[in-house]
């Protein structure tokens, strides 16, 4: 079982979370052509090593987070809120919550 340090709630079992997808994907604008959407929706690297993933703390704070995880060891290197505004607000806060 993975243990994911949620930036809002602290370290929790991965069974509280649901996996989203590849966090490195930049979704195109809605009006972008089909080719750009094909790239974003279907094309995925099969990474042997560290990759960025989105997870949602579904049975917790329901926040979407970006997890930097090593696919070989399952080691989690970093976790931040997916929402950039929240991420920078949290980074500036003096008392980050993720010390479990």
């Amino acid at each position: 079982m993975l243990r994911i340090p949620c930036p809002f709630c602290g370290t929790r079992d991965h069974s509280e979370f649901s996996y989203g997808g590849d966090a490195s994907v930049e979704y195109p604008a809605l009006e972008a052509p089909a080719e750009a959407w094909l790239e974003a929706v279907f094309q995925r690297d099969n990474i042997d090593g560290v990759q960025l993933e989105t997870w949602q703390h579904l049975h917790g704070c329901r926040m979407w987070i970006v997890v930097e995880r090593d696919t070989r060891s399952h080691e989690i290197h970093s976790v931040r809120p997916a929402h950039e505004g929240l991420a920078s607000a949290l980074a500036q806060s003096a008392d980050p919550v993720n010390e479990s």
């Binding site: 079982m1 972008a32 052509p33 279907f42 329901r62 399952h74």
Partner: protein, 994 residues
């Protein structure tokens, strides 16, 4: 073998006599005994029959690695097969039986297969029973099917009870700073050191009492009891009878706690076993080492066990396992036991495979008055149901040759020790071969985890203690405490080096030498596998089944590897080892499922109207996790009668239906309209306040995700409803969009599914029902609340509610949402009014009939493979705005004309019935996937015959004038049908809009 219970010593209570039954005979032991020690003390030698050859088997060990004494415990529903007698604690009234034998393990008719042993070698099943036609006469899969039943019976293990498990089990969760596995010297040292540093420590021990290998040694003035007291005093949480069976990511360990397996009469309130998920910040594995056997002729005979096992029986259980004992060893560890057994009155001979041994060890043998032969090893055991004599081999140059025979009633073997690296292996860390110690030692890991004691290849008690302390200091430092000063002792610790010894054989002698006794894998099987071309250790394992029995190779793996290495002319590390996977020892399925059985198999969601529905005659059905009313039968009605009546009543007067399970989402904030306009495929930018709109959401890939209505309540507030099935998915998707893609949108989404209960009021008289229940009846007039109108108002009694005039049934209908807490009272009022108009309550079955008549889609149709055009709703999708899925829904394949499209289906002969799940085929081509499928069927009360919804390639325009067959080969057979528009009833919606 003549075993004797000693008059004193051991960790047993001689005052407590426990009677138990073995194969129908009443025997007795003492509190503190294992079943194995009690059987041994009662001189029961043959305890099992082997898997393939039905050879007699007795105790081979005194612990979890036991391969011989597998027995069945209990009777009736409470029967546990393949229990190791060595790990089962004795209790009063225990019932144990030998298995894989008829009539009993002592006289087993099946042992005749021993005589045909040469036909049962490695790969026997494949070779004998699997062939290729036409050469499969007497073999081949056809024959295999026939033989399999007989073979399974002959080559079997214990038999499980076929009735439901009467016991209950629990899941539990735990946290600690340091988890210490094993309570030998290393584990105790680690736990005490870590606890004294202020850490929260859990110490798990698979045995009933703490001590580990210390229990195998003579008691030293209550030293162990003092140490355990110190552990408790330091705050160590001790879990005995608990096995750490698996180690997982993130410091998570799976523990199995055996709560009542040792009790004669378990109290009802206690779970039999508890499966723990334990999260530890640091883990110390002091899991010890297991002593190995050596392969020689008849090395599986009862009366042959590991040297340390005899020591455990002697010192822990006060049973001297034999009188005339031969100890065969290749290392120092067996000598202490030789002395202790001699002290207990046995005569001892020692065969040491080593040519030279240190003087101190030689002196130990002299102290035991033991006859010591160096360069000697066991060659073949004699005796049918127990060893009576032993042929000895002597070393001559690099080979063995016969060197005499000696009588004995007990043969103790020490072929070296294998550290228990299983749990580390679960973490993907490969063990490393240590040629000096002739064993695999733990590999390196970066995880917060240390191996300590003999699990790390350290053989000396004191060094084990130190290594435990050093491991604890690493834990303390890792968790932010002081850096420790102890250095971990190096592996090893014997005075003389071990001489590797895996097999003893002499030229020209046929021997039956077992490598994996539990699966009857012999040395010849390994060599045969090699001759037949198996070189990889993974293939060897699967071909010979080496290490695949319940002990998972604890006994025999290393010997098998060594023999394979020899056959290949390689060293053991080049052959490699197989990966140990969880569980370390067997875990019952009951413990894994815990309380999640029966009604607790999955979560159950009840609506606030649940009791109300039951009180009013509702029969419930499952819809996802929800319990929803299925139908409300009057007395004497079948389900078919009930739903037809309910649907007819809705079309004639009015009906009420609990629709609370629909997903409800509050969408609030200045950019709410923009969000809705982006996620729905149809326009939402201009939806006026006080209006609802039916919307269809697509996924990014352009397929339909969900549908529902969204109500515009106020300038920047909407109320969205989703289908029951996709409520969670839609909510998570909205959150994902707002948090990851559209972070600039000022919108808040909140699930309010639990806060609002929903009731559909449907039928020509629905407005009258509402009028009688709202405080201001004028508010629900046709003018004030037209089709798709939305109203926030109060019901009588000042209960706030939300009403929209929307229809799933195709009738004039309203959805009324009420605060959950007020629901039953309001429902009383609505029902009183509806009943006065000859209305009814209706359930899911009638709801389905009404919507199928109208061709309205639900989850059965929107199965994730359907485009908006396939569902016949393409004209709703906007071309003037971009939205989720708008780019990819235009892909060529999704615009194909002959995609399966939603259609209605009538039986050609209107009296016929057909089934959902059937395939739609052209009459001349009834095979394969056909041209489409049927998603839903119902008897249509409005049309008077059965109708269905489904998809067929090209849709209505392609097939409306063609013959179509509804193919249902395994149920009803073929039915001629015709394809009609999905809008089978009131296609112009006059009833709904009017």
């Amino acid at each position: 073998m003549t075993a004797t219970r000693l008059a004193k010593g051991g960790y047993i209570d001689r005052d407590q006599l426990l009677n138990f039954t073995w194969d129908g005979r009443t025997l007795h032991g003492h509190a503190g005994d294992s079943l194995a020690s009690a059987l041994l003390a009662s001189n029961q030698q043959v305890l099992g029959r082997s898997f393939k050859y039905h050879r007699p088997r007795g105790l081979m060990s005194a612990g979890v690695e036991e391969s011989g004494a597998l027995v069945t415990i209990g009777r009736g529903d409470r029967r546990d097969a393949n229990v190791r007698a060595t790990t089962q604690e004795l209790y009063a009234g225990l019932v144990a039986q030998g298995q894989n034998a008829w009539p009993s393990v002592r006289f087993d008719a099946g042992s005749i297969s021993n005589l045909f042993g040469r036909f049962l070698a490695a790969g026997f099943y494949y070779k004998t029973f699997m062939g290729l036609p036409p050469f499969e006469w007497g073999s081949g899969t056809g024959m295999w099917m026939r033989y399999e039943k007989i073979i399974r019976k002959a080559a079997g293990m214990g038999e499980a009870s076929r009735s439901p498990d009467p016991d209950h089990y629990e899941h539990a969760h735990g946290y600690c700073d340091v988890l210490v596995v094993g309570s030998g010297p290393a584990g105790r040292g680690a736990a005490l050191t870590a606890a004294k540093a202020g850490l929260d420590v859990i110490l798990v021990e698979q045995e009933a009492i703490l001590g580990g290998d210390t229990l195998a040694q003579p008691q030293a003035a209550d030293n162990l009891a003092d140490q355990i007291k110190a552990l408790k005093g330091a705050g160590v949480r001790i879990m005995a009878r608990t096995t750490a069976f698996g180690l997982y990511d993130g410091g998570v360990a799976g523990l199995l706690e055996r709560v009542t397996d040792h009790l004669a009469e378990p109290p009802m309130w206690m779970p039999r076993q508890r499966c723990w998920t334990l999260r530890a910040r640091y883990t110390v594995l002091a899991t010890g080492a297991l002593e190995r056997h050596v392969a020689f002729g008849n090395n599986d005979r009862p009366g042959i066990m590991t040297a340390n096992a005899a020591r455990i029986y002697l010192n822990r259980f006060a049973v001297r396992a034999g009188e005339n004992i031969v100890i065969a060893t290749n290392n120092d560890s067996a000598y202490a036991g030789a002395f202790e057994l001699a002290q207990a009155g046995a005569s001892v001979q020692i065969l040491d495979a080593r040519k030279s041994i240190p003087d101190a060890i030689r002196a130990q043998a002299a102290d035991a008055h033991a006859v010591l032969r160096t360069g000697a090893a066991p060659l073949m055991a004699h005796g049918a149901k127990g060893i009576t004599a032993l042929d000895i081999a002597g070393q001559h140059a690099a080979n063995w040759r016969e060197a005499g025979k000696t009588d004995c009633d007990l043969l103790l073997v020490s072929g070296g020790w294998s550290p228990v690296v299983n749990l580390l292996s679960h973490r993907g860390v490969k063990p490393v071969w240590d040629a000096d110690l002739a064993c695999f030692v733990p590999g390196q890991t970066n995880e917060p985890l240390s191996m300590a004691g003999s699990a790390a290849g350290i053989w000396n008690d004191n060094a084990c203690l130190l290594s435990g302390q050093a491991a604890a200091e690493r834990a303390v430092a890792h968790l932010g405490g002081a850096q420790g000063s102890s250095a971990a002792p190096a592996p090893g610790g014997w005075q003389g080096a071990i001489t590797p010894l895996y097999e003893v054989k002499v030229p020209g002698r046929q021997l039956k030498s077992f490598v994996d006794p539990q699966h009857d894998v012999t040395t010849e099987d390994i060599r045969l596998a090699h001759r037949e071309g198996y070189v990889s250790v993974e293939h060897l394992k699967r071909y010979t089944t080496l290490g695949m029995a319940t002990d998972q190779g604890k006994m025999g793996n290393i010997i098998g590897l060594a023999l394979m290495a020899e056959a290949l002319g390689k060293e053991i590390p080049q052959v490699g080892t197989t990966t140990f996977r969880p569980p370390y020892t067997p875990v019952s399925l009951g413990a894994l499922k815990g309380r999640n059985v029966g009604n607790h198999f999955r979560a159950l969601r009840r609506t606030p109207l649940h009791e109300w529905n039951l009180e009013h005659g509702g029969t419930m059905t499952m819809a996802g996790l929800w319990h929803r009313p299925w139908y409300f039968a009057h007395s004497g009605e079948t389900i078919g009668d009930a739903y037809v009546r309910e649907a007819q009543t809705v079309r004639r007067t009015v009906g009420l239906c609990d629709v609370t399970s629909l997903g409800k989402i509050a969408i609030q904030g200045p950019d709410s309209t923009e969000l809705l306009n982006r996620i729905y495929s149809n326009p939402f930018a201009k939806l006026p306040i006080g209006k609802a709109r039916y919307g269809i959401m697509l996924r990014d890939d352009g397929f339909v995700m969900d549908d529902g209505t969204t109500w515009h309540l106020r300038e920047s507030e909407y109320f969205m409803t989703t289908t029951t099935a996709h409520a969670g998915k839609v909510m998570a998707f909205l959150e994902e969009l707002l948090q990851t893609r559209w972070t600039d949108l000022r919108v808040h989404v909140t699930s309010v599914s639990e806060q609002w209960a929903g009731v559909a009021v449907a039928g020509p008289k629905s407005r009258q029902v509402l009028e009688s229940c709202v405080e201001n009846p004028a508010a629900v007039s046709d003018t004030n609340l037209p089709f798709m109108g939305v109203l926030e108002t109060t019901l009588k009694g000042k209960v706030p509610c939300r009403i929209a005039r929307i229809s799933f049934s195709g009738e004039r209908a309203f959805e009324v949402y009420l605060p959950s807490d007020f629901c039953p009272d309001i429902m009383d009022a609505l029902w009183e009014s509806a009943r006065s108009m000859n209305g009814c309550l209706y359930g899911l079955e009638a709801l389905g009939a009404l919507r199928i008549e109208k061709g309205h889609v639900t989850g059965a149709e929107l199965d994730g493979r359907v485009t908006i055009e396939d569902a016949g709703l393409g004209r709703m999708a906007s071309d003037k705005k971009p939205y989720i899925g708008s780019a990819l829904r235009k892909r060529p394949d999704m615009a194909r004309d002959n995609r399966p499209r939603l259609v209605g289906i009538f039986p050609r002969d209107r009296r016929e019935i057909f089934n959902a799940g059937s395939l739609l085929c052209a009459p001349d081509h009834i095979e394969g996937y056909g041209e489409g499928w049927i998603t839903a069927v119902t008897h249509s009360p409005a049309l008077g015959h059965w109708i269905g919804l489904g998809f067929i390639s090209g849709g209505h325009s392609q097939w409306h004038d063609k013959a179509v067959v509804c193919a249902d080969p395994i149920r009803k057979g073929n039915t001629a049908v015709e394809i009609v528009s999905p809008h089978m009833f009131d296609p112009d919606g006059e009833r709904m809009y009017g």
